[in-house]
């Protein structure tokens, strides 16, 4: 014992000596390090270490460990099973309940060096072996093959009892490629791979991992060759190509046939200006004046332009339910102002310029007062329409009860009387009547032209040059119904009311040429259902009215022939009745002017025929102003 002790002491002294002696090149070994510990199945584990310099002397390594709950140092029992620089802990020495504290010692003749201690928990160092028996087969799925890979877990891993739960990972690539494609598999042991390249050779590998642990190594390669399955596809491609070629041919043929339409559709032609009578060449040649002159329409009343008379836009919309629907546009005088007024007033009828609203009517009155100018319309618009006198007729005027249909009256017909109106009472009522009239216009058939001869003897009226007259009859509907109906159903266009321009001289009894477009406005409808017309003159004053009273005829009525019976002035004085059943007291029918509302006879003729009337009838226009005298009212 003493010998042993002595030997040991000597040995240690030598060690101590050599530790501090700076030998030639010998030294204590370097510090080893524990590189890794792995357990393949959570029942055993192995630790490996990395030695450093050995100090030039033969060095041995030892592994010591301590269990967590005890301070007893144990030395590794098995240095061989794990290979070089390893220590293997078998089942009996492996505990999953405690940590291991492991230290490596490098020992050589001069000394020993300890590594840093490392704590090991067996649960967390599990690195299973790679899965085994990887088998990849080709399955044919209706001509589109796919690969099926199957494998077994590593032998030592006890997955059956649930001791270890493994998840797998598969990777695949074409033989010639470098990049792997990785697929997560989960816990299953079979996996399918789709989307294969025809005639390609694939390489497949598999590995596994426990819940808390490390990935295993990749298993050995398994190669598989995919057969050629595109032969069928080739024929499919051919079919597709042929089909698309056929479709293309058809489309091009269709395009060719419809090339013009297509061109028209895609590149619509720019519409050129179309002005009737406009000569492009003349215009191009620079003679614009000539060009514009060519626009002259024979019937176009130029003089009215020059006089800037208030040519009311005679919008009469005639509505014939059964036969014709005549839309009355503006009169021959196209005035911007008129148009403006038209547009500015609200229409009872859809879009048609009708004297639907009282504003229009009032506008007319404004125009009348301020004649001469198309801008009058604007003024009219601005004016307080309430002040306007509306020379309409009377309360008896139009009523909505008149038959259905639209009646348009010429605005001028209903245009309000000039301000120096005799009866103010009429004004208010006229306005109302105008409203009513306008409203009823939309209701009454358009055939009705209402023209009243004003008995007031006011100034000339402007008659609308238009194609029709619409006559609205007043209260006495029952009486008038018949003739009205008749009249309605006739085209109105026949009857043209000749418009005479507003004379600058209100006093002049003369009227302008038959071509002038004076407006006749319906002053009112008197109690006998007679229309009181009066011309719409610019300088309308009472005096004028009186003087020109004779120029107006009163519509007596419409007889069975759909002839509008107008009374001459003298007759009107006596308050003749309008309708056939109405008789103006004391008046004779001698002075009746008959206006036919039949389409076939566009001209109006008097009955019993004042000759001058016929003279005046030109183109269906009757210048009532010239033919009749206005009875002084």
């Amino acid at each position: 014992m003493m010998k042993n002790d002595g030997g040991v002491i000597l040995f240690w002294l030598l060690l101590l000596f050599t530790l501090y002696a700076r030998g030639k090149s010998y030294s204590v070994p370097g510090k080893p390090t524990l590189t890794r510990c792995r357990s393949p199945e959570k029942e055993t584990f192995t630790c490996w270490w990395e030695p450093s310099s050995d100090g030039g002397l033969p060095t041995t390594y030892k592994l010591y460990y301590r269990k967590e709950d005890s301070d007893v140092e144990y030395e590794c029992q098995d240095y061989r099973t794990g290979g070089k620089n390893s220590c293997f802990f078998n089942k009996n020495y492996t505990s999953i309940w405690v940590n291991y504290n492991i230290t490596i010692v490098a020992i050589n003749a001069l000394g020993q060096t300890f590594s840093d201690p490392v704590d090991i928990d067996v649960y967390y160092i599990v690195e299973p072996n790679p899965p085994e028996n990887l088998n990849v087969t080709i399955q044919n799925d209706k001509g589109w093959p796919f690969l099926r890979a199957s494998w077994d877990p590593p032998k030592k891993a006890d997955t059956r009892s649930g001791w270890i739960t493994l998840i797998y990972e598969l990777r695949i690539k074409l033989e010639e490629e470098d990049e792997w494609e990785i697929r997560d598999v989960g816990q299953q042991k079979v996996f399918n791979i789709y989307g294969l390249q025809s005639e390609g050779t694939y390489v497949v590998q598999i590995r596994c991992r426990p819940d808390h642990g490390f990935w295993s190594e990749w298993s050995a390669d398994v190669q598989v060759k995919v057969p050629n399955y595109l032969r069928r596809n080739r024929s499919t491609w051919i079919m597709i190509i042929v089909f698309s070629a056929v479709v293309f041919l058809i489309l091009s043929w269709l395009l060719h046939i419809n090339s013009r339409n297509l061109k028209h559709c895609l590149l619509p032609p720019v519409p050129g200006p179309k002005i009737k009578g406009f000569d492009k060449k003349l215009h191009k040649s620079g003679k614009s004046l000539d060009a514009f002159k060519s626009l002259d329409v024979p019937d176009f009343p130029h003089h009215t332009f020059s006089k800037s008379e208030d040519l009311l836009v005679e919008f009469i919309e005639v509505y014939v339910p059964e036969e014709q629907e005549l839309m009355l546009e503006k009169s021959n005088d196209l005035h911007d102002g008129c148009l403006k007024s038209e547009s500015s007033v609200s229409d009872c009828d859809s879009g048609r310029g009708s004297c639907d609203s009282h504003t229009l009517l009032l506008d007319k009155s404004g125009q009348q007062t301020d004649t001469q100018d198309s801008q009058i319309d604007e003024q009219r618009l601005g004016e307080d329409l309430q002040d306007e006198k509306l020379s309409y007729a009377h309360q008896d005027m139009v009523s909505p009860d008149m038959s259905a249909g639209r009646v348009k009256t010429w605005p001028s017909v209903f245009s309000p009387l000039p301000q120096n109106r005799s009866t103010s009472a009429d004004q208010a009522s006229s306005l109302e009547m105008a409203k009513q009239h306008c409203l009823s216009d939309s209701l009454l058939p358009s055939e009705f032209l209402t023209s009243y001869h004003s008995l007031s003897g006011h100034g000339t009226r402007d008659h609308l040059g238009s194609n029709y007259w619409e006559f609205n009859f007043g209260n006495k509907r029952p009486n008038l119904t018949q003739p009205q109906t008749e009249a309605r159903h006739q085209a109105h266009s026949e009857i043209n009311i000749f418009t005479t321009g507003v004379k600058a001289e209100p006093t002049a009894l003369k009227f302008p040429t038959p071509r002038s477009s004076d407006y006749v406005e319906v002053q009112r409808v008197n109690e006998e259902d007679s229309i009181v017309l009066r011309p719409v003159g610019s300088n309308y004053d009472k005096h004028f009215e009186i003087q020109q009273g004779e120029e107006y005829s009163r519509v007596k009525g419409v007889d069975s022939d759909n002839v509008l019976l107008l009374l001459q002035k003298e007759a009107m004085e006596e308050e003749m009745d309008m309708c056939p059943c109405e008789q103006l007291s004391g008046t004779t029918e001698a002075h009746y002017t008959k206006f036919s509302t039949s389409p076939e006879k566009p001209t109006a003729y008097t009955h019993p025929t004042p000759q001058p009337l016929e003279e005046r009838v030109v183109n269906g226009y009757v210048d009532t102003a010239t033919m009749f005298t206005m009875p002084p009212y």
Binding site: C37, E68, N99, F114, V118, I120, D121, G162, H212, F214
Partner: protein
């Protein structure tokens, strides 16, 4: 003794620079990639592992029992474990069986009960293993399972001991548990009785394994939510 002291003193002399290295506690990290670990496994993790262990044991024992039943027990005799005098060996143990009783146990007693159960089954299972080897047509799977179970049971015992040390700060409880003596290894029974005994053993063990698992899970439940455990 002298040599020993000398050894140790010399070790101390050599290792004095490293004396402080080990004592520093490491941070508890759950990173499996690094080798440095907590110096000790946490209590939660330990409990989880023990429960996992017990679950597995129960599952395998159940499989073994059904396997044995199919192979060796005729139909009329099944589910008659408590008849014929073959009571469970652990019947005499002071282990509660009813739910209310179990709920009244404290954590300490739960663990103790588990340990008691485990320790009392180690030997019988070894014996079972021996008897099954003697069977003529015992399938390998059955043998493997029973072997596995006996091994795991030993491991479970260790785990419960460590757990007890951690949770209750108690020292290792030695197996001062005496055999009940219900085992009569030497008694030679006829084949049928032998089979019945083994069958009884397996079924009893299955029940006790389930009990162990239940106790441990209850313990875990109490760790997290004390008042809501059933």
């Amino acid at each position: 003794m002298h040599t020993r002291v000398l050894h140790q003193s010399l070790w101390a002399l050599l290792l004095w620079p490293h004396l402080f290295a080990v004592s520093a506690p490491l941070d508890c990290r759950d990173d499996p990639a690094s080798l440095a670990r907590c110096p000790s496994i946490s209590q939660e993790k330990l409990l989880d592992r023990v429960i996992h262990h017990a679950e597995l044991i129960y599952r395998v024992s159940e499989e073994s029992c059904s396997l044995f039943e199919e192979m060796f027990i005729p139909l009329p005799l099944r589910l008659q474990t408590n008849q014929g005098g073959y009571a469970c060996i652990t019947k005499s143990l002071p282990i509660p069986s009813s739910k209310s009783e179990i709920q009244q146990l404290s954590d300490k007693w739960l663990l103790h009960s588990v340990l008691l159960l485990v320790q009392s089954w180690i030997e019988p299972l070894v014996y079972l293993q021996m008897t099954l080897d003697r069977y003529d047509h015992a399938p390998d799977m059955l043998l493997n399972k029973t072997k596995w179970v006996s091994e795991k049971l030993i491991s479970l015992e260790q785990g419960v001991v460590v757990l007890m040390k951690k949770m209750l700060d108690e020292g290792t409880m030695t197996t001062a548990y005496s055999e009940q003596g219900a085992f009569q290894y030497d008694v030679q029974l006829d084949i049928l009785e032998s089979i019945m005994r083994d069958y009884t053993l397996l079924t009893c063990f299955k029940k006790d394994a389930h009990k162990m698992e239940t106790f441990l899970k209850l313990l875990k439940c109490r760790q997290t939510d004390k008042y809501n455990c059933a």
